[in-house]
Symmetry: C2
């Protein structure tokens, strides 16, 4: 699969050589320390880079004691990596020089490309051409560069990399689409004791993009987590595949994504297409590929810290120890808000706690040891040991506060020992201790927080990740049903109008062919024919008018429900046609359909649409105007399996309607799951052909009664002439 991926992306091999280059050329190297071109030379030196360094600049013979060359091709030995620090107009020529020399990688600092108007964009297209026509791979332009501390590969001009990091080996890689902001985050992390081993700024992504690095890092044994600062993913499919690979290998990918507030919606013909925003799709992709989306830098770093400290829990169940009842109650609150469980202790744990706890303390969760937590170190240790043994607890949380030196003797040591004696993570939320306390715990591998809210949030996200990974192991492999895709393609092409639309009658035929139950829908040529069809279908029936020129037939009054006699059908036949003609006087191909009236079910809206980055998007929501006004829907990106389909339904705010609300029977959720799975397989099989598919409503009957499409619309890519 990796080979295939490499082949698909233009024969790129891994980036081993990029991060461990034997030789680095600096094109535009300068002897003037004030110039950007002087910085990589200085950085490579101070960081202790061991390979060959070749300054390239026709104006110098030597720079900093190193022989200087007029061009890449003039360098005697091979060049693995070229750093390009030149004015934008000179960059393409330098890259051509590199390509001819057989340089493997170039990092282009220079700005003035796609970010800087049409001229720059033209220059960037030149770079893209060079990349396409050679084996040279390019990071940038407009990048602050890339750094890998293990090999002292510092291809960056950022001040922060001019001296070696205080320590390394965190196992954290950081890929950022913003150069300067990425450096700020790198700095903050360093201050908090987290040195990122990798810093990668992808800049304008004329060549290498986020997915390339994510893909590479997924297979690196030293990588324990990847932090992302994302503005926009370029190749959605590759990004998703790379993220999934990290997920499968247990490397958490934690992302800050700019754009949550963006409200751009796609113009779409269908309901579902119009419903889903681009950020919904990002959220779905992140969720499905195991990427944890966070909203702030502290949230990012605190979660990374849990990874680095081996403090990721196996599940959601927190056992809380506290020195304050009030604080313990709040911690419970915060944990629950963060999606954690705070289960009561039972069985041996309860008994063991009862045996060690003094009279004032109850063996309940949280365990409130009051101020005696500090003075009776043994009590604290024993409680930790008991909770650590409980198979019904996944993580321990200690909530306390005050000056640890004032409240008792050896508090940090006791906490560290307790943590080391437990194979479950122990997180410490300690309010109001001096700095040294957090540093001391941190240095000993115990995650320590000043704010209980941050502690609960980090643990909640970590538990989320753990649970998703656990569930993913339980998955049966995805096996799309054999839908007969070629035949379905044929149906779509033959029944679509010139605008690519299949109206209800045709759309339902297509869906039925794909194995999705639809309400039988018959065309009626006349009022008499309508009555005959109604008799054949059985009363009550629904009459609808359709025409390629009638987009909003409900608003036009072109649908009449619940007709229960021949007279009613006859009269309705004339009415819907009249109304359609009144609403859209020039509507072509007006036709009337007759179908059985479906009643007594819950109505859903189910659809497929297309996201420009990630391709097909599957949406489900409750039907009806109220649910639509409340924007109650969930989104996933195919392929999905039964578990995901079930979750799509469960995550609806109004999902209670499907599980037996106010005494009603539970609805046939299994039938809906089957349809969602089938639609997912359809979307995959039909690829770019299918633009939008709208089932509105899908009527879901009581459990065992199935679900039936009552109305549908399909839009395909109109054939190019």
């Amino acid at each position: 699969m990796d080979t295939q991926t490499s082949a698909q992306t233009g024969g790129r091999s891994g980036l081993e050589r990029f991060f461990a280059p034997r030789s680095i050329a600096v094109i535009g190297a300068s002897a003037n320390p004030a110039k950007i071109g002087a910085r990589p030379l200085a950085a490579l030196k101070t960081n202790g880079y061991q390979g060959q360094i070749y300054p390239i600049n026709p104006n110098y013979d030597t720079i900093g004691g190193l022989p200087c060359y007029p061009s890449a091709q003039a360098v005697p030995g091979p060049i693995d990596l070229a750093i390009v620090s030149l004015p934008a107009p000179l960059v393409p020529e330098a890259l051509r020089d590199c390509a001819q020399k057989g340089v493997a990688y170039a990092v282009v600092f220079s700005a003035g490309f796609a970010e800087a108007g049409p001229e720059g964009a033209a220059l960037q297209r030149e770079i893209e051409r060079i990349v396409a026509e050679s084996t040279l791979q390019v990071l940038g332009p407009n990048t602050a560069g890339a750094v890998f501390h293990h090999t002292a590969m510092v291809a960056s001009f950022a001040s922060t990399f001019m001296s070696p990091p205080v320590h390394q080996g965190s196992g954290i890689a950081f890929i950022t689409q913003s150069g300067a902001f990425g450096v700020y985050v790198y700095n903050l992390a360093q201050q908090l004791g987290l040195v990122f081993d990798y810093y990668i700024n992808t800049g304008n992504e004329a060549g290498l993009e986020v997915a390339d690095f994510l893909e590479y890092l997924a297979d690196r044994s030293e990588v324990r987590a990847v932090a992302l600062y994302l503005e926009q993913v370029r190749d959605g499919t590759r990004f998703r595949r790379a993220a999934e690979r990290c997920f499968r290998r247990g490397i958490p990918v934690i992302a800050v994504k700019v754009g949550r507030s963006a409200e751009a919606r796609r113009a779409a013909l269908s309901h579902t297409g119009a419903l889903t925003g681009a950020e919904d799709v990002y959220d779905a992709v992140f969720r499905q590929s195991g990427v944890v989306r966070v909203d702030g830098i502290m949230e990012l770093l605190e979660l990374l810290d849990l990874v680095v400290k081996n403090a990721m829990p196996r599940g959601r169940r927190a056992g809380i120890l506290t020195s304050t009842g009030g604080g313990g109650a709040w911690m419970t609150d915060l944990c629950r808000q963060a999606g954690l469980e705070v289960p009561e202790f039972v069985g041996p744990t309860r008994e063991a706690l009862e045996a060690v706890l003094p009279q004032f303390a109850a063996a309940s969760n949280p365990v409130d040891l009051t101020g005696q937590m500090y003075t009776q170190r043994d009590l604290f240790r024993r409680c930790i040991a008991i909770l650590a043994r409980d198979p019904a607890i996944d993580a321990l949380v200690l909530l306390s506060g005050g000056d640890p030196e004032t409240v008792g003797v050896g508090v940090p040591e006791t906490v560290v020992e307790a943590s080391q004696s437990s194979d479950k993570p122990l997180l410490v939320a300690w309010v109001g201790a001096p700095d040294w306390f957090y540093r001391k715990l941190g240095a000993a591998g115990v995650p320590a927080f000043r704010d209980p809210a941050h502690c609960a949030r980090a643990l909640g996200s970590a538990a989320d990740y753990a649970t998703r990974r656990r569930d993913s192991h339980a998955l049966s492999p995805r096996r799309p049903a054999d839908l007969g895709i070629p035949r379905l393609r044929e149906t779509l092409r033959s029944r679509a109008g010139a605008d690519g639309r299949l109206l209800e009658h045709a759309a339902k035929q297509f869906l039925a062919q794909a194995g999705i139950p639809t309400a039988e829908t018959r065309l009626a040529d006349s009022a008499d024919d309508a009555v005959a069809q109604a008799v054949a279908l059985g009363y009550p029936v629904v009459l609808k008018v359709e025409s390629p020129d009638l987009l909003h037939r409900s608003e036009a009054g072109g649908v009449i429900l619940d007709l229960d006699s021949a007279d009613a059908v006859r009269s309705a036949y004339g009415t819907v046609l009249d109304r359609a003609r009144h609403y859209a006087p020039h509507a072509r191909d007006l036709r009337v359909t007759v179908q059985p009236m479906l009643s007594g079910g819950v109505e859903l809206l189910v659809g497929l649409s297309r996201d420009p980055t990630f391709g097909p998007v599957l949406t489900v929501g409750l039907g009806g105007v109220a649910a639509e006004a409340m924007r109650d829907y969930t989104v996933r990106v195919p392929p999905i399996d039964r578990r995901e389909a079930r979750e799509m339904i469960a995550k609806l705010r109004g999902s209670a309607l499907l599980t037996g609300f106010r005494g009603g029977p539970p609805a046939d959720v299994e039938a809906v799951i089957g349809i969602l799975e089938r639609l997912s397989a359809l979307a995959e099989g039909l690829g770019d052909l299918l633009l939008e598919l709208d089932i509105n409503p899908l009527v879901v009957f009581a459990a065992g009664g199935g679900a039936v499409v009552a109305d549908a619309l399909v839009v395909i890519e109109a054939e190019s002439p």
Copy 2:
């Protein structure tokens, strides 16, 4: 009004003397520094308390050089405040001693009361009796005490108060219902440079409670903000009144409230009663009385910091300056998520920016100055000056990062000067600077954040507060309509069943009497009578059966809609009665009502219920089972005005349904507002009599068409025999 409040709460005067006592007695004083009873003596001394100190303990003649007395009554001079540090069983006697002595206030440290089982609860009731029967006011028991730094009144045993604070005068008062956790928070704040002037732990609240202190602090000129750590409010009305007083006086009250995850719902007969959780009511009370609810300690402290630094904005519009385009985009995102606006610059601001900005930077919001922000200090200063002049901007945000010493010369000085030159708040989100930078800005009064997310969140909350205050100035005074409350009371009493319920027919009569439009609803004695009534009302009509024993008549099939002929009515008459008898064979007083069929409107659910703490609660939600399943409703606590009523509707997730959704006409929101106002006045006027009122549905027609009650239920407090 204050006099009245004092009178209502048992003649309590303000707490001036509590916080500025001329003399303090320590009952249970100890010479042994390891004992709790030694601590207040030590603390009063080290903090420099200037009044008289009287140790009280029959076992000593002197303690720490002070003469010691056997009882409060044995003390020669008056005692303003007594600190009680005795075993619980000895406390009542000590308090009686105090009461007889005429001591004004007692602070009871001792635990072992209501928090410790039935025996302790009995002891606490004894304290409550003493409070009721004397002029002694009690803080506690089970309290860590109270502190006011301005007078060195340190009535606490917490270690943190044993030495005087490094500085004071923040103007922040902190009231906490958790003693230990409150101290932790106090410590953390101190570390971040915020010394709370007041620390007040209310403990078990046998006497003084949170509202007492809130009320007092509202009138203190030195108080600039109140921080609350709340578990449960005791007297909802007084709390609300005190919070509103703070709000009117521009003293922000910022609360952490435990209990968000609590899912307790009240048992209720009506829909709305069952819908609303206790935390919804807290949220409503907070919102209406201007209390800002926060979820974490850092969030609390960061917002307090804005108050202390005079950095509260006047509105929601943020102007952003940044050194990084990527970071600026994210800051925009974060601001919008936090409810702020990031408006484009127009007019003179735009022109002025265009005149000073270099070519690379656009005069848009955020202004991206790139790294030149650091090197061109004048550019930065000019931009700040331009934005500071713009009347369309309420606050300035600077987003940057890195080591301020590396990136440029005099960066913090420039920022501080810029801040001082602007009369709008300037908030700095600086990622990755060393500690000294934040301290330096902080010391100069510039709020500085490490995480842009925290900065946006604090500014968003502050803007929320500012906007609410601005809107509250624009209010017309609340003037409940003259509803004829005595007559309405009479109707309720005379029409309610033994269980306090008024069924639909009676409930509608009551509502009509209160001036709320209802669908005319007539009783029918027979099928023929039903037809006659239907003819009189006009077809189509609805038939409903009612009986005090038929709670779920819809589920029983006891409602038939849309009857459009005499035959249909006649047949429905029998059907609803049959169904009712089948569903509830022993149902008494079965009656059938006839009313006009209301169609074409949007259905709302509107109701009043009773919260045990805060009294009447007004709820509005969208009607229909889908909306109910989605729990889409808003809650307010009467009295409300038109603005609040409008907001109740606007805050519904599905409010789009009322403003003309999918081409429909906008609904008569004004009519709904009128009804909500009237219900609010009703709730106020009827006081404890009204337990629940359920209008379900209220049918709202197109603008100008009004809103009509289609069904209703009322429950009143059953009369005591």
